[in-house]
Point group: C2
């Protein structure tokens, strides 16, 4: 995901298609992630969505692009994608939503809202913000009600220390230390507009927002902040890890369970207009 | 569950046992309910708990009593039970909690806290309050993140009408119209200390509290209030249904998915002292 995300030539829908934006919620537990995979036995959210669109159009090809290609086990309450339906297929917003939801049953993936968009509107390249929530269940007992939806950390976390460490990561930085070694983004520079840590009873909640994130960036930040919360790292060490520009200088990658894509921002938001 | 719940002769632990109170969280989806069943293929929360206690004591018999015998599919975030361990088994609070949690794996049932209690303290008969939350997901799309944890109602609910209808049920009444026909309580009289309906975004949340409830009472109230929220029943009809003292006069039983036992109250609360 490049920092500058202006529409590119070729991103606009060709005149033969009718582009729809969809707002999605899913439980990432049972999926290998967003992206369709060559092996059919592995179920992806994209594969499920496009398969449902194919059924809804009696076998036509309906390609999709998403705002955030979430990894296996990562959830979404506000994911956005667009689908290019053949132009001769005319559907209402309710039919796109209900029809796709019907064909994606019984998988835990749903369309909350569907809206027709202009051909130059692009779920990925028109997005100017992504927001994620990372939830840690911080208590002795493993989760029963939130299995697969939280990172279970037994040792008590000091949230004020985590918040102090988080301040070093806010703003524009080279996030090489917090990016997956396999990350394909051209630049490691990102601007974190928000990174907050708060306690909500037994939960420690990390909220973060940026134009875009590097691969594993949120989970690597969560895994590092947890070390600070446990008292194993001084808050200052996070600033040093950032300055090192070396993945090995930061903490481990937190599990996907706790991560949820909560919102994608657009200047022209099809779901709020 | 009788309205008067003073300890009865025989409820106290015999001197040969050491009584422990446990605070529990569980996802009721995979269970036939709290109560142990004669058929072993059906998993109950009680069966799982007593089975774990048996393993923790190398095969000893450890009977349990709960504050609320939840039905199949009903969840708990604050259930309370007591366990009578043989007096010669000495365990710490952390060992009771962690040991039971270990042996209940991988089922979605956990002990949040374990505390030794006096022999006359009884999880069921010492309880002076039960609080339940009933959650309705009120939107077009079926749930993806909260599958099995909410009642999905598509038609928009008017919460102010539901709240208006709820006021007729608060206080001391004969709840025959809202009690399961199979309910075994001697008296249909109960005192509802709280019954509130509020909207939280896409959710409609019903919170209720009483010394005790009749069988299916909360789900029957939720199923009836939903008819009011949909505009199919005028709020006044709920008062009439109550006055009828006839199960057929009230609305249908709401599904167990939305129900969660959130708290059990005690004058002598072992978990807060």
């Amino acid at each position: 995901m490049p920092e500058a995300s202006a529409p590119r030539p070729g991103d606009a829908a060709p005149p033969s298609v009718c582009r729809w934006a969809v707002l999605m919620e899913y439980d990432g537990r049972d999926f290998i992630g967003w992206q369709r995979q060559p092996v059919d036995s592995l179920i992806s959210i994209q594969g499920l969505l496009e398969g449902a669109a194919r059924k809804l159009t009696a076998g036509r090809n309906v390609p999709s692009i998403t705002a955030g290609r979430t990894d296996a086990g990562v959830h979404a309450s506000g994911q956005v994608a667009h689908l290019d339906f053949p132009a001769d297929v005319t559907l209402s917003s309710a039919t796109v939503r209900d029809g796709l939801n019907f064909y994606m049953k019984p998988h835990p993936v749903v369309i909350l809202m569907a809206r027709p968009v202009l051909p130059q509107w692009n779920a990925r390249f028109s997005a100017n913000a992504r927001a994620y929530r990372y939830r840690i269940l911080n208590r002795a007992a493993r989760p029963a009600l939130e299995v697969g939806r939280v990172w279970h950390v037994k040792s008590p976390l000091d949230v004020s220390l985590m918040q102090q460490a988080a301040s070093a990561l806010r703003g524009r930085h080279d996030f090489t230390s917090f990016r997956a070694t396999a990350c394909q983004a051209r630049s490691p520079i990102r601007t974190l507009d928000q990174l907050d840590v708060r306690r909500e009873g037994e939960y420690v909640v990390i909220e973060t927002r940026a134009r875009s994130f590097l691969h594993h960036q949120v989970r690597n930040m969560a895994g590092t902040l947890k070390l600070v919360g446990e008292g194993r790292w001084a808050p200052e060490r996070v600033e040093q890890a950032l300055a090192a520009r070396d993945r090995r200088a930061a903490g481990p990658t937190a599990p996907p369970d706790g991560l949820c894509l909560t919102e994608v921002g657009y200047e022209d938001n099809p779901f709020t207009r």
